[in-house]
């Protein structure tokens, strides 16, 4: 099993974080005017844009009387990785992540409020440095809030890995270097407020004995992210009011 040196004897990771520290997260709501909602989010060097259209009338084929149909499209910019990508969207990996995004976000949206409607969510990765799915979920949550779509709770996603030193320790919010070290990466999307989990994905085999450790580390990461997202939403709203006031005056 590789990934032995992910945690130094001084307890620091390769980038200088401790095992339980998230990367720096910066985010902004309402970055575009065309979509109904949008957000930009940076998680370390992973940078994503999310845009939300809707709810609007669903196309005939997809329409459902039970609730809103959520459409997700995940794509990566050609310049987002070290080597240029030839196909920005539609490859298998992107399609898979699109489906995962849909699963995670549908869990948070109060779908029953909008029968026969649909919501389109676009997530574009501008720069990839590990955990693009997580950053995508977190950005999409903000974009949904910006669009004014009622949610059950914030849906946040976070990954976690393991450092196999003398004492195995979980590492939260995995950047590309740690992903590439070949250890296990567990991705969790959860609604921290309700305590429910919307999605779980694991990259490699992991012994049952360690699963709880990694899982709770990722869930704690989700909780920490929720605090940051919540603060961003409140800041944005406070800012929004004053701007609108100046416009009306």
């Amino acid at each position: 099993m590789p990934a032995a040196d992910l945690l130094s004897s001084q307890g620091l990771r390769l980038d200088g974080r401790r095992a339980n520290e998230l990367r720096r997260i910066r985010c902004k709501l309402g970055v575009f005017t065309q979509p109904d909602g949008s957000a930009y989010l940076e998680q370390g060097n992973t940078k994503v844009l999310a845009a939300v259209y809707g709810p609007h009338q669903a196309s005939k084929s997809k329409s459902s009387s039970d609730g809103v149909v959520v459409n997700c499209q995940y794509s990566m910019a050609t310049f987002s990785t070290g080597e240029r990508k030839n196909r920005p969207r539609g490859d298998r990996k992107s399609q898979e992540i699109s489906l995962h995004l849909r699963q995670a976000l549908t869990a948070a949206i109060k779908t029953e409020l909008y029968p026969r409607s649909q919501i389109d969510i676009y997530v574009e990765v501008l720069q990839a440095d590990g955990g693009t799915f997580c950053a995508g979920v977190n950005a999409a949550t903000l974009a949904l809030i910006d669009a004014g779509i009622p949610l059950r709770a914030y849906v946040c996603a976070c990954s976690a890995s393991m450092a196999w030193g003398a004492r195995p320790q979980p590492l939260v919010d995995v950047p590309h270097v740690e992903e590439a070290a070949g250890g296990v990466v567990l991705t969790v999307a959860s609604l921290p407020n309700t305590g429910s989990t919307a999605l779980l994905e694991m990259s490699h085999k992991l012994h049952m004995d360690y699963f709880k450790m990694v899982f709770s580390s990722a869930v704690q990461g989700c909780r920490d992210i929720e605090v940051i997202l919540d603060r961003a939403v409140r800041d944005h709203l406070a800012e929004g009011w004053t701007e609108q006031d100046t416009v009306t005056v």
């Binding site: 620091l12 980038d15 200088g16 080597e83 440095d129 196999w164 950047p175 270097v177």
Partner: protein, 696 residues
């Protein structure tokens, strides 16, 4: 918890691919000094003393030492002595050492982990005040030197800012890089060379002997005896365009002025002769060789030539003598061999060598010659002031360099192994010369062990198949303390469709994996040792004694964790079913072969152990019979079910032990020797063939 106190910079690296990495700088890193009252240390986080005692006459005040990378790389033998304490190892240095030499890195970690040495690792690369960014056009090594100087200045300022009443410790930077020293002095950092520091240390006799000798640059041609080696870049281009060839140098055991290099593309190894032809290559080194024109090809000399007993000083005068003995070229000679000369060293494969000191005849001299036990290794010149004591001992010496103006390579004394002829000293020599790791287990390894009074926790028993009620026993040679497997057999009810009796047979091997977790220090150490080595009077364990002869030894009447393979077998020894699982067992008896045989033979014994053994004995005979019928080594014989299971579950790493037939070249020397004895041509011994791995 997300700390907002961190802020972010990027390090850009890479040649073709641009890699951008995050680099967080922190303000919660500790300086490790007891003289500090500003960092939030916990009690066990103070490593450096409040008032470190100075042992160096140059600096007679309390001070901490900061080491430059070159000092760690070249003087690890000095550092391993219990002399220098209160040393700060910067992360910059740690990483440079790790990058350049893993074995020295491991040795450094060993020192750092030893509490009494008081070595503190300071994470300067992530500290907000000591991180330096590489300037445009600046070399990485220059940037690192700058980082080291900045950390030294920071420490000095940091310690002085604690307004303590007593004298606070100063910082001394030890570096052998003259340029770095000069720049440090300009910054007001106290610094000196390793040599100056160590030569002024009081109270540690013999420390000076361990100083690695300074390297004279290859470009310096003053008093040069040998031609200069080419630079790595020259070698690289030369090898690429076919001018030179890369190969491993093998010195001759009989003639110290002869050796060969096996080079790709040549059927015969290239013959290298004379001081100049060998040009300071040492057995095992990877060298670049230039092939001489065919007219100069020769046959290997068959003379025995030993180096002179006395130090002739720095001159090479045997050259002519050797060339005289070389036979004239005869093209019909089948033994004609391409010859060449070493033009450069690609990689030194130096290790530490055992041998004896040959004290200089001049009284009071400090320069002496060392003769390694391995004849392929040249004599080494070392400096020591303890030649009288060492003359009667086996000693260990490390090679440092081989400058052009020195007849012999330069080295330094590492440690004494004991009196010549003493059994333990000679044992030590054998172990060292064959590179058998036999040091005591490190603290890091021992920290992986369970406590001495460990017993199996209840929750572990719940996870496993409980076989404690089965009558399991082991059979080993007398005196065996590491019982790694045990067996059981019992008749089953019911018969096969053909009406044959059925038995359950189990093999239980000690479950070492419970104690040795992947990638722990213990796992790595065991992987490095890879086997237990038995000397006549001593055993060198692969894992610490607590495991090998206690917790992982399936002793009688003790509960042990095991991995079990249980077969259902009919009376003709056909396997009907098999299963594998972890288990808990309690061996009923740990027997010797003799005891087991007596138990089987004593007709009056009808107890479970005796019956179990008789079943096993009967089945074993049938299995052996079947194997013979199949041709002894057929891999389809039933006892390979473990190997099959392994290959199925771990296709990437399953191993079969294989003994390939030795290549005929291994016999040439032997055949040649045999021919001279006018013996009939011997046929190579029959070679063993593949056998399934493990006997359990």
């Amino acid at each position: 918890m997300w700390t907002t106190k961190t802020f972010l910079t990027k390090t850009k690296r890479g040649n073709i691919l641009k890699i951008v990495r995050e680099h967080y700088l922190r303000d919660d890193l500790l300086c490790g000094s007891s003289a500090c009252n500003s960092c939030p240390h916990k009690d066990d986080e103070y490593v450096l003393d409040l008032k470190p005692v100075s042992i160096c006459a140059l600096f007679e005040y309390p001070h901490y030492i900061i080491l430059d990378t070159n000092v760690v790389l070249h003087q690890i033998d000095v550092l391993e002595e219990d002399a220098l304490t209160n040393v700060i190892i910067l992360q910059t240095v740690l990483e440079e050492v790790k990058h350049q030499n893993t074995s020295i890195y491991q040795r450094l970690l060993e020192i750092v982990n030893s509490k009494k040495r008081k070595f503190y690792c300071f994470v300067n690369e992530h500290h907000k005040d000591t991180y330096v960014e590489r300037k445009p056009g600046e070399k990485q090594s220059d940037r690192n030197d700058r980082a080291i100087r900045l950390a030294a200045s920071w420490y000095a300022a940091h310690l002085s800012s604690n307004k303590l009443e007593h004298q606070f410790p100063q910082i001394v930077l030890i570096t052998d890089d003259q340029n770095n020293r000069q720049l440090a002095q300009e910054d007001g950092i106290v610094c000196c060379t390793v040599q100056d520091y160590i030569e002024n240390v009081n109270g540690f006799a013999g420390l000076v002997d361990k100083l690695s000798k300074n390297v004279m640059p290859e470009s310096c041609s003053k008093d040069a005896l040998y031609p200069a080696h080419l630079t790595p870049a020259q070698i690289h281009t030369g090898v690429k365009n076919g001018q030179y060839h890369s190969g491993t140098f093998h010195a001759s055991r009989d003639n110290f002025l002869e050796g060969t290099a096996s080079v790709h593309g040549f059927e015969k190894a290239i013959l290298l002769q004379g001081h100049i032809g060998i040009n300071r290559a040492v057995d095992g080194d990877q060298v670049a060789v230039e092939i001489l024109p065919e007219a100069e090809w020769r046959r290997p000399s068959d003379i025995v030539l030993e180096d002179k007993a006395d130090d002739p000083g720095d001159k090479l005068d045997e050259e002519a003598e050797l060339l005289k003995t070389v036979k004239p070229v005869d093209n019909k000679d089948g033994e004609i061999t391409p010859t060449g000369k070493v033009v450069g060293i690609i990689k030194r494969k130096w290790r530490q060598y055992c041998g004896i000191l040959m004290p200089s005849k001049i009284p009071g001299a400090t320069r002496h010659l060392f003769t390694p036990a391995e004849k392929r290794i040249p004599r080494v010149r070392i400096e020591t002031r303890q030649s009288e004591i060492l003359a009667s001992q086996k000693i260990l010496v490390a090679l440092d360099s081989w400058p052009r103006n020195s007849r012999y390579p330069l080295g330094h004394f590492v440690r004494a192994l004991g009196q010549i002829g003493d059994k333990s000293a000679e044992n030590e020599v054998i172990l060292l010369e064959h590179d058998v790791p036999h040091a005591r287990f490190s603290e890091a390894v021992l920290a992986c062990l369970p406590p001495n009074d460990w017993t199996i926790p209840d929750e572990e028993i719940k996870k496993r198949v409980d076989l404690r009620s089965l009558c399991i026993c082991s059979v080993d040679p007398p005196g065996c303390t590491d019982i790694d497997d045990a067996l059981h057999a019992r008749p089953l009810e019911g018969t096969t469709d053909d009406g044959l009796e059925t038995f359950e047979v189990g093999v239980h091997i000690a479950d070492v994996t419970y104690f040795v977790r992947p990638d722990t220090a213990l796992d790595k150490e065991a992987a490095c040792r890879s086997t237990t080595v038995y000397l006549v009077d001593r055993r060198i364990d692969m894992v610490p004694d607590l495991l090998s002869s206690n917790l992982c030894s399936l002793r009688g009447n003790e509960e042990r964790l095991a991995f079990s393979c249980v077969w259902e077998i009919d009376e003709n020894a056909n396997v009907l079913s098999k299963k594998f699982h972890k288990s808990v067992i309690k061996s009923a008896a740990a027997m010797t072969y003799e005891e087991a045989q007596i138990t089987i033979d004593t007709k009056s014994r009808r107890d479970e152990i005796a019956q179990s053994l008789r079943i096993l004995n009967k089945l074993a005979k049938k299995l052996k019979r079947k194997r013979m019928d199949n041709g002894a080594l057929s891999l389809s014989s039933p006892e390979i079910s473990v190997a099959e299971k392994l290959a199925e579950e771990f296709p990437q790493c399953a191993l079969l032990r294989r003994h390939p037939a030795p290549p005929p070249a291994n016999f040439t020397t032997f055949l040649k020797a045999a021919k001279q004895q006018v013996a009939p041509s011997p046929s190579p011994s029959p070679s063993p063939s593949p056998s399934p791995w493990g006997n359990g």
